[in-house]
């Protein structure tokens, strides 16, 4: 231990006397490690943010939607081009999903389905209270919506089954709405009546729940989401068809498999349609797709980083050979004073390891910075990957030992008198 720290001190001294040379030697390692850390940070940020949205959307959710069959033929008479069918006027109401289809599907797969979430957008309206106003985007949702989308209630709760069945005028609002208009009195607003214009008619809704608003990259507009029973929405819009809905699979059910079954089942209704087909996507397959892509990028970057590290390691070896040649007489002196071959070997291996660890540390810091910037640009919270930091340090150490061994061994095996007489 005594000698170990003495060697570290010695290594630092010798590196300090050759600052620029040492730094240039470290560059390969810095670049290699920085690249790995940066990509790992971005990847980690990405998968963390995905698993965040997984929690809000639910990993077992399968989104079912209607897609146009041939992308290039998707033009309505007035030239409107669409991919996913949303508000296509050229399509008739009968082309869309209806409750019958959905219920049929549910009966078919009731063993696998925990809930079905259907949703109908009503419109975005404005609620006024005194001089303040807040824009509310109103959606009608089935009870399954709350299974598919985990909302956290701060007061009150879901609609009752009766309220849902009868389509009563009840509403669930967000904390952001209460903050804006009701001074944050979450408990007090329960049972209050909120008035708003919908479809040019003034309507009253009784507040039954306040959910916790969470800012995320998906909520970019300033309107607050509010939920009313699906039935109530349909009686306002007079529209009871859907372009999309979600299915929540039961625990232990393979969502991918269920998604395929649902798709096949529903496509039965569209067999004769030359315009529409049913598509599904689920979080699980999206995540695995994303992970696949991230994996490929990581592999590519790792190969480049590996080359940089190899070159860096050879640089370290080279500089160690130079250093050893320069210090031949010093090595001879040390041997004359009683240093064993093992000690000399250790001295230079430690020097190489110190170079690599300093390089690795600079690389890690650079990589974290780059990764944080990258994550910010992509819009995720930066999440450094601890395992890759630890791994990088260990790997730097390994490079130092691996590429330092040969020069160090060369120094160790020098004949003392030849080293002392070296000019």
């Amino acid at each position: 231990m005594n000698m170990f720290w003495e060697n570290v001190r010695l290594a630092l001294t010798s590196l300090r006397t050759n600052k620029s040379r040492t730094f240039l030697t470290m560059l390969g390692i810095i670049i290699g490690i920085a690249a790995v850390i940066a990509i790992k940070t971005v990847g980690n940020s990405l998968s963390l943010s995905v698993s965040d949205s997984m929690q809000s959307m639910g990993a077992n959710n399968i989104t079912v939607y209607l897609n146009s069959k041939e992308a290039d033929k998707d033009e309505t008479e007035d030239g409107y081009v669409f991919g996913t069918v949303t508000n296509d006027r050229a399509l008739t109401k009968d082309d869309l999903f209806n409750d019958e289809m959905i219920m049929g599907m549910f009966r078919q797969f009731s063993d696998s389905i925990a809930a079905i979430s259907t949703q109908a957008e009503v419109e975005t309206t404005t609620v006024k209270k005194g001089t303040n106003s807040k824009s509310l985007s109103i959606s009608g949702v089935s009870l399954g919506y709350f299974t598919a989308n985990s909302l956290e209630f701060v007061s009150g709760g879901f609609f009752s089954a009766d309220e849902a069945k009868d389509g009563r005028n009840v509403i669930i609002v967000g904390t952001d709405f209460v903050d804006s208009l009701y001074g944050g009195n979450y408990a007090g607003i329960i049972g209050e009546t909120v008035s708003m214009p919908l479809y040019n008619k003034n309507m009253d809704f009784v507040v039954v729940g306040v959910y916790k608003y969470q800012a995320s990259i998906y909520t970019m507009n300033s309107s607050s989401s509010a939920y009313i029973p699906l039935k109530a929405a349909q009686s306002i819009t007079h529209f009871d068809r859907y372009t999309t809905f979600s299915v929540v699979s039961k625990v232990g059910v393979d969502s991918d498999e269920l998604a395929v079954s649902i798709k096949d089942y529903l496509n039965g209704f569209y067999r004769n349609s030359n315009r529409l087909e049913v598509e599904t996507y689920n979080m699980a397959s999206m995540i695995s797709g994303m992970n696949d892509m991230m994996g490929k990028i990581t592999t590519a970057v790792s190969v480049i980083a590996g080359i940089a590290l190899l070159v860096g390691g050879i640089g370290v070896m080279n500089i160690m050979l130079v250093s050893i040649t320069e210090r031949t007489r010093e090595i001879g002196t040390r041997k004359a004073l009683g240093a064993t071959n093992g000690y000399i070997r250790m001295q230079f291996i430690i020097e190489a390891v110190v170079i690599c660890i300093i390089g690795g540390t600079i690389g890690i810091l650079t990589g974290l910075l780059m990764g944080a910037i990258g994550a910010k640009i992509l819009g995720f919270a930066a999440a450094p990957s601890v395992s890759s930091i630890v791994g990088s340090l260990a790997f730097s150490m390994f490079i130092g030992i691996f590429f330092g061994y040969y020069p160090a061994n060369k120094a160790a095996k020098m004949n003392p008198i030849d080293a002392l007489r070296y000019e």
Binding site: T13, L337, A339
Partner: protein
Amino acid sequence: MSEGANTVISLKNIIKRFYIGTPNELQILNGITLDVHEGEFVSIVGQSGSGKSTLMNLIGLLDRPTEGEYHIDGLDTASASDNDLSYIRNQQIGFVFQTYNLVPKTDALKNVELPMLYAGVSRKERTQRALELLELVDMGDRTKHLPEELSGGQKQRVAIARAMANDPAIILADEPTGALDSKTGRAVMDLFHKLNKEQGKTILLITHSNELAEETDRIITIKDGYITGERKGSGCVPTPSETVSESEVTEA
């Protein structure tokens, strides 16, 4: 001449050849037989190129003889491993070189500590002893100086302090005053006398100065790799010491 003292260095028919590519083969030492006793101060003189340093390096275990037997403190060096030799160099031998050979970028104190570091002495003990030794060679006020910040004489005194670090029985000095002016050289010689008389160190000194050689117990002359002469010296510093001066045949 043994006077009952132990033989610490015993050379028998030592031959050293250098191979500088076939068919060239240089025989530098042609069968050296020499005994050095505990507490003796021996000087080795001879022309340049006669093989003095080569002999000294063999004695110091920095090199191995081509033929012949060498016992140090009764141990046959032929059977010793590299690690054994390192250990003996560390514990029993102190080197003083003409070119000082202080480790660069390392201050006087750390230089003196080095042999103790290799011996596994604790940091505290090392520093304390190094300070004492630097005090002994009158370098107590230069402990934090780097070699490049010291004069030749100062460097040599640090080197002597370093040679003493593990309290070795033998000190080997190859022209320690060679690069110093006569006054500084005198001071270094006085130091050797002190170590020899007060601490009983066995000292082997190579010198080109006949005056300095005369001060030692025994003077050995080497010529073309043979010991050609051996005589007793005064074994003490002549008084007044000012008499040793310009006649020195030093060379750098």
